[in-house]
Assembly symmetry: C2
Homo-oligomer: 421 residues x 2
């Protein structure tokens, strides 16, 4: 019979119910926070024309992208992130004068929670299919919008239950000012950004070594690190910080961090990352302003600012800090079936409980022993079990068993509904 080994691809995961419920809980919580700020959901296709994605994520990105030729000979690629598809959407549906059906009103505030695919090296504990959770504001350069995305991110973390987190922020323009003042070539400043971004991870000596490999002398490298470390926040950053304070974000949560660089991609101004105390695997959130990306698809510049949560890290951190509710089981009661003859009684009470908004499962095998049915309730973490045996049936009664205390009580139908409601 069996002709195929049941297995998943490396880097791809099945989410069984227990895990899916945890993820769903986190997603629902995040959505509520995003919507409390007026962000609206957007969904884009899993497949895009290859040319839409190619060249937007650097050489590395093009290499890790899932690309293929479809049955119609089109070069296509799987979603690699949600920022480039957002940029395409904004260019495609942004107002052209009238307020058409298919046009977006600006500022456009959207969230997007969909999987992305990257052929990562799975040995690093990375996955090839993972969920991204993005929040962006398109169409305004106001520092109020920079502050708002940070406020949304911290509020989301707070609502998930995180108590200690820190927002590191910087202005990408600092690196340009620095390049000018130090009279560095474009290549040199790129090397500096790449190296300095790792300061926390590999330390001062590590950065110096990396810069030496790129042709800097020891003294030059040390000067570079010290100069960057001593950069003061720009007016723009100070205004964002002011706004955040007004928004009720405690000052000690925000730290100006001049060595933060966030790789080499599309950011133009604000960049930020959020770290969680007690979770050392890396930042759970990163974002910034990217005012030039949308113009790659459009005849005009459209500014944008936003962030993405690393959803897997968020789940991992929540697990580590025990932030998930104890029981995410949604079924309240299992109605057992005592025998084929008494099946109808069990069906009847199940329907009645359910119509009273009590999530009710009926055991779906009228020939199973009661013991097996109780074990099923235990395995699924269902808190209550209903038993209607011959004695109960005769007296028109129902026995309710609390699966935690193993206590039993007897009710009539109405009483049972009241007890469980």
């Amino acid at each position: 019979m069996k002709n195929v080994e049941p297995k998943t691809l490396k880097g791809f995961r099945d989410f069984l119910p227990k895990e899916t419920k945890k993820r769903q809980y986190a997603i629902d919580t995040l959505k509520k926070v995003f919507e409390s700020y007026g962000f609206e959901p957007l969904e884009t296709p899993a497949l895009e024309y290859e040319e839409v994605l190619l060249g937007k994520y650097g050489e590395e990105g093009d290499k890790l992208m899932y690309r293929f030729v479809d049955n119609g000979g089109r070069r296509v690629a799987l979603r690699y992130d949600q920022t480039v598809p957002l940029s395409r959407v904004v260019a495609q549906y942004s107002p052209r004068g009238g307020a058409g059906q298919n046009e977006l009103s600006m500022p456009f505030k959207r969230y997007q929670i969909q999987p992305v695919w990257r052929a990562e090296n799975t040995q690093k504990g990375r996955f090839r299919e993972f969920l991204q959770c993005d929040v962006d504001i398109v169409g305004t350069t106001s520092p109020l919008s920079d502050a708002e995305v940070i406020a949304v991110a911290t509020n989301a973390l707070k609502t998930l239950g995180f108590k200690d987190y820190k927002v590191l922020i910087n202005d990408r323009n600092n690196f340009s000012y620095f390049q000018e003042s130090m009279n560095l070539s474009q290549e040199q400043v790129m090397a500096v950004i790449r190296a300095i971004d790792k300061l926390k991870k590999i330390g001062r000596d590590g950065v110096i070594n990396e810069l030496k490999e790129k042709g800097f002398s020891y003294d030059q490298a040390a000067t570079v690190i010290d100069s960057i470390s001593n950069i003061k926040p720009t007016e723009y950053i100070l205004e964002i910080m002011q706004n955040l304070k007004k928004m009720g974000i405690k000052e000690e949560r925000i730290q100006f961090y001049p060595t933060l660089a966030r790789g080499l991609d599309y950011y133009t101004d604000l960049i930020f990352e959020i770290e969680i105390e007690g979770y050392t695997a890396g930042s759970v959130c990163g974002g910034g302003r990217y005012d030039k990306l949308i113009a790659m698809f459009s005849d005009k510049d459209i500014p944008a600012v936003g962030f993405a949560f690393g959803f897997d890290r968020l789940i991992e951190a929540m697990d580590a800090l025990k932030l998930f509710p104890d029981n995410l089981e949604t079924t309240k009661v299992l109605v057992t079936i005592f025998s084929k003859e008494l099946k109808e009684k069990s069906i009847e009470i199940s329907s009645r409980l359910r119509s009273n908004n009590i999530n009710t499962e009926i055991y779906l095998d009228e020939n199973a022993k009661l013991e097996k049915q109780l074990k099923y309730a235990d395995q699924k973490g269902i808190p209550y079990v209903v038993v209607i045996g011959p004695e109960e049936a005769e007296k028109n009664q129902i026995t309710l068993k609390n699966m935690q205390t193993r206590e039993q009580k007897t009710f009539n139908q109405e009483g049972l509904v009241k007890e469980l409601a």
Copy 2:
């Protein structure tokens, strides 16, 4: 600047916020119903080994499947439905004696709502990426489980607001009995099943013509149609119908329909479809029992029964019958910014409203004219707008504008919270 035309692939769709909210509303409603019966969420990867999917959907399926070779030289395919991945999951994680961490307790009741991909001919108004919404019970042959999936489907439709729907049910075994009694070859009975399934669509003459093309005489074809149309429900079907009655499903909603065939795929016993009155594009739900599919991945037979909603049809039918709530806008109030000087007042009241669980958006451009801000609220369908001008600021007051009636009232902060809560 612009170097790529922003466009989507044929058959693929962006869902802008208005549409996504409607879809989300339907999904949330469906989930609640599924969970009220104890079904739990499952998620499987978008990509599977090609061999897991190939040959499970007939020749047509293999042709429409998105298949490619990944960077590691593996032959992979995009999810084509959710029943085959479920079958793989059940074989992969089904109990092997102990009740291990990664094992499923049986009966396993799961729902799954994920996109699938098929390179369909888009001219028929079909999409190449579409959402499927599946409910299945694995591990029991009890007719109670056949009845439960039908009950879940009808209850879901009722909860979405549909009033008139009909469940057509049949037993696939009838075609085997019929094959024996009529002494037909396997090939002939396949032709009969294929043709008779279209009875409703192409009529009696259409079916006769199709059978004549397959070598049947006119008389033979007519006899075949009449014989099948006169088949009586099996004991098994009668028991399912009895169970449904006990579950509170009205008798007139269920119709034994001996010519229902549901294509030629993996169904073994019960098959059913649900039609909605006033929506003629086709059935919105189809399913049945498939007791042999999981064994393609497993050393043992594991029975299963379930259904899938055609999500796009469901949305289309809900639109046609006006079943969506009038306003799915989640933002209750837009706080405008009168001027840069008064920005802080607006930030302050926004945070206060939000912390009172009132979904509040602040307009993110302190330089925009009030008129533009009001227009934004109108476009997004936000019902209330807050204005704090110099006069209000001085008196520590807030003006609230009802965007529908255009009525204005003035409050202090506390009063405003009360009014909007």
